[in-house]
Structures are given as C-alpha cells and as structure tokens.
Subunit: 156 residues, 2 copies
C-alpha cells in the first residue's frame, strides 16, 4: 500500500466498515452461489455435485426418511431420490443470515414440477427449506444441516 | 469476592476456562429446557406457552403450510393444528450446538401418536426437527426458526 493511500484515523474507521460490509456481502454471495449450485444439481439429478456441496459431517433430513448423517449416507439418499423422481424446480431465497464467522442459515422455498420416474406421471412440487451453512477449513461454505417439507396440502 | 479467593494468574486462566465451560453448559441446559417446554405444550395443545417460546420475529415452518412469520401468524397456525389434531409425542435430542454467543441449533426427532380430533382416529406420528435458537434481549433463548418433516413413509 502506498503511503499516500494510508487512511487517517477517521477514514480508517470508514474503511474498516466497508471491508466488513464487503466481507458480509461476499459471504452472502458465496452462500447464494451454493444454493444456486444445489438447485442446478437437484434438477440435473447430479448426486456427485450435491454431495460436494455438503460438509463432511453434514446432515440431510429428507421428508419421509430418517436423518442422513455424513456424506456416504447423503449420497445414498440422493441416489434413491433421483431413482424415484425427476425435479424441475426453482428456489426462492426468503432470507440469508450470517450467525457467526463460520455459521449462517438460509430459509428458502422451492416450486415447480416433479415427475415420478416409474410411471412418468408429473405433478406440482412446492417445498420450504432451512439450510445451515458452515464455513469449512478451506474457507468454503458448505451445507451443514438441511431439512425441507412440502407446503402443498396433504394428499386426499 | 473475598481476597483469599482471588486467583493467581494461572488459576485465573483455569477459572476462565471453567466459567466458559459452565456458560456453555448453562446455555445448552437452557435450550434443552425450551425444548422440554415445547414438548409439554405441544402435547397439551397449549398455544399460549408455545407462542411465548418463540422470538417476536420467529418463523414456524409447518409441513403442508407456507412459513408462518411472527408471533401472530405462529399463534394462528398452532391454533389450527390443535383444532385438527391431538399429539402425544416424545422428543429425542440428536444434537444441540451453539454457533455464537446468541445463536444455537438443535436437531431432534419426535415420535408417538396423533389423534384426528374430527374422527377420533389415532395413528403413529414420527418427525424430525431442526430448531434455530436465538438469545433475545432479556437473555432468554427463544425459537427463531423451526421446521419439521415426517419420517414416516408416504401414505399409500
């Protein structure tokens, strides 16, 4: 940094604020990027990418299933989902909030269509989601806990 | 504090650690207490108590419903649930983790019976839950976000 660029004390404080705002923005952006990658991989039935978005000790809590703890179980669970159904859904972010240096959550909703692979039948799909994100050792935000539930009415 | 009790520097460091451990323990205990109060109130169809366990801007994400934001909407949602069903369930805590001074999460499962009030029919109930807790201004831990989903297989 050049001397002429050294901030005065007051300017330094402003700079600290803007760095902090930038960090916040970057973290929210990074988390949004993970959500976007998740959406794309879900619609593409791309288990490998999805598993890579989870933390090693992440937990996936799919409806109609017990919690799936750790990447091996998460992989098996998504393979099962993608055997059964094909999704075509969009996510909407209701909120992203950083809780600490290394933790954040996102609350989302998703809607679109689901096709039952065995029958080819297609129907409407609508869910709400809560994601917990953890910044892992490499500095990357990963999905640490994830649960969703349908927002559609119960079937007859 | 009596002078004779004043710690040396080394003892002070040990003391700080034990205070910190105590605080952690107390926070986990306080959160466990909220979970226990939630379980009791849910089984008692006690909307007032449940609403008091939520943060003012808390979000309740019940299955088959859009997210309910804020205490008024949360109250209406639980009143609706308790009109429809009577629960008799026990919660099991899989993990409680504090994420920062003022944020924590709990991952739980619950199981027991549900009675449909309109018909008197009773069936098995089993869910998984993710709670986000926030320490509010009064220092009390409140439910900030809460979502559950059934772990039972889909109905026929």
């Amino acid at each position: 940094m050049k001397n002429s660029m050294l901030p005065t004390l007051a300017a330094g404080a402003a700079l600290a604020t803007s760095f902090s705002a930038l960090a916040d923005k970057t973290d929210a952006g990074a988390i949004q990027h993970v959500l976007s990658a998740y959406e794309t991989a879900l619609n593409a039935r791309d288990t490998d990418t999805i598993v890579s978005l989870y933390a090693d000790d992440g937990v996936f809590m799919p409806q109609h299933s017990l919690p799936q703890v750790g990447r091996d179980n998460i992989r098996t669970a998504y393979d099962g989902v993608f055997m059964a159904i094909t999704l075509d859904i969009d996510f909407q972010i209701d909120e992203i909030e950083q809780l600490s240096e290394d933790w954040a959550f996102a609350r989302t909703r998703s809607a679109g269509a689901v096709r039952i692979n065995a029958t080819g039948d297609t129907g409407p799909e609508a869910n709400q989601e809560l994601f917990l994100f953890q910044r892992t050792e490499g500095g990357k935000w990963k999905i640490a806990r994830y649960i969703f539930s349908t927002t559609n009415p119960p079937r007859g």
